[in-house]
Structures are given as C-alpha cells and as structure tokens.
Symmetry: C2
Amino acid sequence: MSSIETQIHTMGANARKAALSLSLLSAEQKNEILQAMADGIRAQTSAIIAENAKDLHAADENNLSMAMKDRLRLDEDRIEAIAAGIEKVASLPDPCGEILMDTVRPNGMKLTQIRVPIGTIGIIYESRPNVTSDAAVLCLKSGNATILRGGKEAIHSNRIIAQVLNEAGESAGMPANAIQLIPFTDRESVGIMAGMDKHLDLIIPRGGKGLIETVVSLARMPVIKHYDGICHMFIDADADLDMGVKLVVDAKTQKPSVCNALETILVHEEVAAEFLPMAARAFAEKETELICCPQAQAILEGVATTPATEEDWSTEYLDYKVSIKVINSLKDAVDHINHYGSKHSDAIVTDNQAIADTFLRSIDSACVYHNVSTRFSDGEEFGFGAEIGVSTDKLHARGPMGLKELTSYQYRITGNGQTKA
Amino acid sequence: MSSIETQIHTMGANARKAALSLSLLSAEQKNEILQAMADGIRAQTSAIIAENAKDLHAADENNLSMAMKDRLRLDEDRIEAIAAGIEKVASLPDPCGEILMDTVRPNGMKLTQIRVPIGTIGIIYESRPNVTSDAAVLCLKSGNATILRGGKEAIHSNRIIAQVLNEAGESAGMPANAIQLIPFTDRESVGIMAGMDKHLDLIIPRGGKGLIETVVSLARMPVIKHYDGICHMFIDADADLDMGVKLVVDAKTQKPSVCNALETILVHEEVAAEFLPMAARAFAEKETELICCPQAQAILEGVATTPATEEDWSTEYLDYKVSIKVINSLKDAVDHINHYGSKHSDAIVTDNQAIADTFLRSIDSACVYHNVSTRFSDGEEFGFGAEIGVSTDKLHARGPMGLKELTSYQYRITGNGQTKA
C-alpha cells in the first residue's frame, strides 16, 4: 500500500468506529452538536476568510474563470449562510428510529423494521467550499460518519471549515472521526475511496460528469449520483398555450445553470404554428437562443434561430439556449424523452387529463410534471427541508434527496426461544 | 463490439422497451400472464425433463459433485413446485402503484410519490435451473423486464424453462422481451451485462463469492448481493442457558448449508463453564465439530474439539461445524461481530432487556435477533410471500428481499401553471 492508501484506509476504519457511536446518539445530542458547530463557524468567520483568501490567491495565479472564483469565494454573508444552514438542519426531525413496519409472526416472534443510519458515507466534490459543511451536517444529523474529499481549488477553505466543525462538534460530544476531511488532493485518493467498500457504505459524487464517471467506474460500493439534467417540456395539442409560454420561459430562464432547468421543448405539430411564435417573442426578451428542428425553423421564418444537430437533443446547455422540436404524437414525445433525457425532470403542458396521465406513467424519470415548471425538483421545494443532492438512479433514492435518503433500515426480531426446526 | 457484445446490447435495448410496456400493465393482466406461465410449465413437464437430462448427462461427463447434480435435477415434483411457485407469486399483492407520499405544497402543486417498477434487472446465477423461473416471475409481477444469465451446467434446462415462460406469457399478453435468457454461457457475457448501465438498472448476482466479486468489480449499475453469512449467537451472562442450547443447535444444524445458519457462538465467560458442556452434549447428537478458542477448549477438556485459528472467525462453514469463543463483555461481543461478521443475521440470548436493547442497536447487520434463531432471516418467514434474495448492503434493500424491494418510486407533480420565478 502507498502511504496515501494507508492513510485513507485508516480514516475509513476510524469512520466505521465513529459510525457506531453516532448511531447511538439521541436527536437531542445530535442537535446540540450541530448548534455548537453553527456557533463555531460564526466565531471563526475571520479565520475562515483568511484561509479562503489563500484559495482565491491560488485561483488568480491559476487563471480560474470568474464563475469558478465566485463559487470559491467566502465572505461574511456566505459564512453566516453556512451557520444558518447548520441550524436549519438541527431544526429538522431526526429520521432515525422511525418504525417502518411492526408485526408479530405466526410463531410469536415480533418483527420490527426500523430506520437506522447508513453508516459511513464518502462525499467527493469539486470547488464549492460550503459543501464541506452542508454534506457533513446532513450526514451527522442522519447519524452517519463522513469522509470528505473536496477539490484542490478549495483545500484551504475546506480544511478550516472541517477543523472548526470538528473542534466545535467534539466540544459538544461528537464522537472523534465523525467528520474527516482528506487533507490532501492527490487524484489517487478518489480511486482509493472508491475501492474501500469495507469502510464506506456509500459514495456521493457531486461535480462534473468526468468526476462522476470516474467514481462510477471504480466504485465497489453503491454510488448515488446524477450525471446531468436534460429536462424536457412537451406542449401537447390540448395545451393552454399561454400557460405553456409562461412555463417554458420559467423553466429555461429563471436560473439556466441548474440541473432542473429546461433544455428541450417538444411541441405537438397541431399547435406548433401558433405556439412557437408566442414562445419566440417571450424568449427574445430573455435573449435566449432558439436551436430548432427544420419544421420549427420553417414556422419561425424571420426569427433568428440556429439549426439543431442530432447532438443538440442530448446537450445540457446550462445557458440561455433551448432546443425545440416539433413532434407528431404523445408517443413520439415519450420516446424522445426516454431516449435523450437524463431521467431527471420532464413536464407536459396539456388540459387533457387522459393524455397527462399517460405521459406521467410513461416517462421514466425521477420527477414528472403536469402543468408545472421543472424548476421545482429540489429538496426544499418538495418539503424535505434540505437536500444532499439529486439522484437519477432508481435504487434507494430517486429525485431530490433529504435526510431520509441518508438512512437504511434494520430488522429487529425478538422472541422467547423460537426455533425453525 | 464483439458479436456477443452486440447481441447482449440488443437484448438490453429490447428489455428497456419491454419495461415501459410492463409498467403500464394492470395487476390483473400480470396475474393472467403468470397463470398462463404456471399452466405452460405443467403442460411441458416432459419436455423440461428431457432437456434437463442433457444437463445431467453433461454433469456426469464433467464429474460434477453429487450435491451439484442434485441441485441441477428436475423431476415431476420439482417442476410442479416451479408451477406452484408461479401461482403463489400471482396471488401476492402488486406492489406497484402504492402511494408512498401525497401532499399539496404551499404554491398549490400536488406532489405524489408513487411506487413504480425499477425497470430492467439483470440476474446472474449459477447452477439451479428453478432460479430461471423464480427470478423471472418475481420481476414480472413487480413490473420489471429481466435479462437472465444462468450457469453453463444448467443451460439446456434454463433454455426450455425460459422458452415455456415466454410462449405461455406472450399468449396471455406479456410484452415481447419481458423475459430474456442469454442463450450462451461465455464468461464474457457477465462483464458485458455489468457494463451496460444504459440498459440495466440493477444486477442481482446469486452464487458463489467469486461470481459476486466479479460482478461487483465490473458493475456500473447498482448491485444487490450478499457475499456470505457468517452469523453469530451471543450467549450473555444473563441468558436462559437451556434456551441458549436449543437456539444454537437449531441455528447451526437445522439446515447448515444456508446463509442464515449459525457459524460462531460467543459465550460470556461468566456462564461459559456451565453452558459449553451443555451445548457440547447437544451438538454431539448432531455430530457437529466444535472449533474452539483456548478458553473454550480448556472448559471442554475431555470432549473432542478442534483448536480455532484466526481464520476460523471469518469462515462460513455451511457444514456441521461451529466455532466457539469465550468473551468478556457485551462490548467485546459487539466488536467481534461487527468485525468478523457478514452484516447478515446475528443473535443474542439473554433475559436482560437492557443488554438486549444495546446489542440490537449496536450490531451493524441486516437482521438482529433476541432469543430467536437466526434461521428466520428469509422472505417467507418475514411474511413477504416470496424472496428474490438477501441483501447485506445497506442501500435500497437490506435483509430478505420481496416484491417491494424490486420497485423504485417516482415523483408526480401536478398543478395549474406554477412557476419558480
């Protein structure tokens, strides 16, 4: 084993021990720890800003983009938001201990299915330093030990945040090693984490597609992830077209950089000639580029459009750009979405209930919408109080993930000597 | 792509299409399909026996063990059991369509979390041909399309069973390609299945540790599995020793070849001198080998015992052998089980409720027992009506898995034009 491998495996074994202690804490104990952490973050604001300055200085030297530097930057407001976020998590109900099933079997043994922590969770993420706190405290509230591996751009910020959380947490009774940050950023560490299924029960990668691909191909334990969000809205022949315009513009332009933003509009040929000019006028106000199939281009003659290539149907623009395709039937819309989509969030606009029902049942995505913007695929909007991420997988967690999605269950069976023989 | 790769990817794409059709079937339609399959299996009994004879002939030529040949063999009784098993699955409630959450958000949109099929499931298994039917019908009842990859020892039996299920199923309205058996047994096919996460949502490997290791290391999609079952029973200082003897003998000897059978007895030093001779007498009647730590050997002086090596604590005997260790405390018992166990099924025998509670909460296993034999870790015994397997993972499914564990969920959101802006 390399020295890095030995270090990370030791952290893994320590996380496993911490997980047992964490699973025995009461909700009150966990909330006291979280409050101490929020207080600690506030008290250490200037120290955090000083460490963050080192990352910003390196970012300048490495010519990172303005967007990257903005994601890195911590100021008093953002640090206060981190502290407030911790208090918010403290205020949420503890998911652990919930009885999911409770029954007495014919032989008299009592069978209880009870919600318990998953155990140990690896979080691998890129530049934003607030993830260090957000992910660690959601895992702590749900009784899990974490090993965090952040990007090199934020290493100074991540180290100080993890240190403050640990010092404050342990002063309030947090077990040692409940939150561990890998203190270096060698690329090797991702592969080592992905291979240690003995020590980590789950890995959640958050970042670009390349990072997630790497984790998926190396991981021996479950991975919860989403690669991208190619979200669709289908304007049916029976759509309220004014509502359709309002919804496509909201889903595309309210915040184009997020995974639940709209990328492709499918419009039924029966209403395309009426709908597309209305939509084009509304998008013009938002300076949004329209990337169109030939039929849509013909309808929008005189409006500036870009011809769509095959690649456009599987492109996540994350920008003021939207692809538009005229289609012939509900079936074609369903087939297009199931083929090109990301299984994330897709919508239909229609006043026809039967068509809406068929659409919702046929689309193989985590969240399917009828006459609502796709922008609501979010743990806060769903009422979970917080979000650790979004899953486009179908096992364990699908769609926005809150505290419950960070738990497992255990069967506890009690009796008075029941034997199988 | 190799020709095998092309074939298996085509099967994957076809499974994905079949999954959409399957997800739209009603419970009644699925049950009619299942009844037709049971009828078909009964009607084709002699054809199945004829194909099975080819596998048995090959088994003779390849000098397979008696145990292997017994697992391969299909006779009229076993074929009737396959048909009855299908009818049993038809009689179970359809898990799909269950509303898991239903709420109206402050903006008026209605949010429903509904149970849906996972989609497409790969089953990779070894010699027993009845798995072909058992796995396929459980997946069908839960609305999933399957790709089955059985072992080469049973290829003729598997082919005829899959053919009968398909012909009978399709005559009753089953979508084409809902059940597909890979018709050849090249080893390459396992790796190809494990790599096609676009087409398969889940793989369930059933078989030896080597097969499961291979699938886990190659799979890009979730895998549900258990490697082995090193199950423990801890005889506490406050145990009813007669009950303890009855439970260790049942858990070890009622059926030693199964994963929920007992492998290691931990006995508290305060009762070891009284308990071990009682247990040794009972195990002598079952001709069970006692593999003992030095302290247990000393107590059992005069009884034939084998000295335990370090390796014994992580050995699944699946035989009339049991390892025995004297330990000093509840904490040592918990540490031993969490370190050497398989996270499958572990038990405590005690009359002390507080000690039992601590044990149940501290053991990191799917099923934890108090004064009950570990042999009850089974879908039938838990009241699920059927079992697709047992999971020692903590994500999605843990412990015995029935029909519900073959489902996912989807969020459906309906409204009247809600926007985020």
